[in-house]
């Protein structure tokens, strides 16, 4: 009985350390992705960031993120998938996922391993393409679709500049 308990304790400890290592690695990747995006801002001012963490599962899953745009004249939205795992589609809409009439304004087929940038002015122009005299976007809604795959944790980093 003692040996079973020792084996169990060891398994628990090893699993726990394993997860901690994964988390530490992910955190370091997130930090370096964020630093890279911040340094790419150039003359723009940094205005915050948001990291969306996810777990790749055996079914597709979604994460939504609302970005408020009215506080600044023109926001630069900078995404990094350098800490991403699996395949992650990125889409930006004018309305939340609860609204069936929402319009997709921007899409990246797979952000994993890449970076991508779009400004709120460009998103407004895109909206004008679909709608006549639309009201300027006050918020946009980012949707990350995490495609099914091997179970692992990942993250997409967003850095805002203005």
């Amino acid at each position: 009985m003692k040996s079973i308990l020792i084996i169990l304790s060891l398994a628990i400890t090893v699993a726990s350390f394993g997860q901690q290592d994964d988390v530490t690695l992910l955190k370091n990747e997130v930090k370096s992705a964020k630093d890279e995006l911040k340094s790419n801002l150039g003359s723009l001012k940094y205005d915050g960031s948001k990291t969306t963490y996810y777990e790749v599962r055996n079914t597709n899953s979604f994460k939504d993120l609302e970005i408020i745009l009215f506080l600044r004249d023109n926001y630069s939205l900078n995404f990094s998938g350098k800490a991403s795992r699996g395949k992650v589609k990125l889409r930006i809409y004018d309305k939340p996922s609860s609204n069936p009439d929402r319009i997709m304004l921007f899409e990246v087929k797979n952000i994993s391993g890449k970076t991508s940038t779009i400004t709120s002015n460009e998103l407004n122009q895109q909206l004008e393409f679909y709608k006549e005299n639309p009201q300027a976007l006050r918020s946009v809604y980012v949707e990350y679709e995490i495609l099914k795959g091997k179970t692992e944790r990942g993250a997409v980093v967003l850095v805002l500049g203005y």
Binding site: I67, Q135, L158
Partner: protein, 284 residues
Amino acid sequence: MLPMNKFNFIIILITGFSLTNCAEEEAPVKEAPTALIEVDTTDVFGSDRFEFVLPRPFALAASFQEAGMSYAPGRTNPVENVSKYMTKGSQLINFGVYSTDLVYNIINDQPQQTMLYFNTLKELADKFGMGSIFTEDDLALEIEKNISDRDMLESLLVDVHERSQEFLEDNDMRFLSTIQFSGAWVEGMYLASLDFSSKDPAEVGHKIADQMTLVTNTIKGLEMYPNRDESINQILEELKAFEAMYANFESVLATEGVGFPELTKDEINQIATKIGVIRALIIA
């Protein structure tokens, strides 16, 4: 190493506990529950289905400044109040209040008040164990050195904000950043509301309509936090009442959800009064 599925892990633990119970006398295992807690902490790194980007106090203040917020001494939460905040909820929400007060002093070129509010923020951060964000890389010293340089201060306060968000995230207190934000937002609205009566209602109304997006998100964020104490619950209810009051204004109903409402003077006064009540509740 492949990450272990949490469900499997719990099964192993349960099995472990069962076996331990069978063999209670010969091998009591006390370490197992700690291991379970350690594994749970990794869930900090799983974001919610829906989240929103919390604006920084500087962006908020800039927006309120555009709405015509002017400076007058004595409008901010007195620094002496810091000793009253004994619960984690009141400390966090007033950390947000003092963050806005700090920015309010910076953008209005008040170096002495800036220093005073910065030290108050530090004191409050120490109370809930976040003081380390100011000691790292001599951040506090850098801020003191640049107390009259608005651009430099803005950049340094970005660091303070980032570090406070990272601290909350790393310590499984992600939800608490919304509490902090709600304090910052209410204080900004309060400071701006003191000038509402002297401004053009059309312009003020437009800015208020914008800000209402943030109150909706603040409510969502506070609702998602499961361990709300009584004071936070009370603030949440007041914010909901405030949102409902706004939604039922005739001018807002008239828009039918499209465009900006033409708020009347009376409606703007009601907003200012209600914000004053919520703010008084927070800083009490």
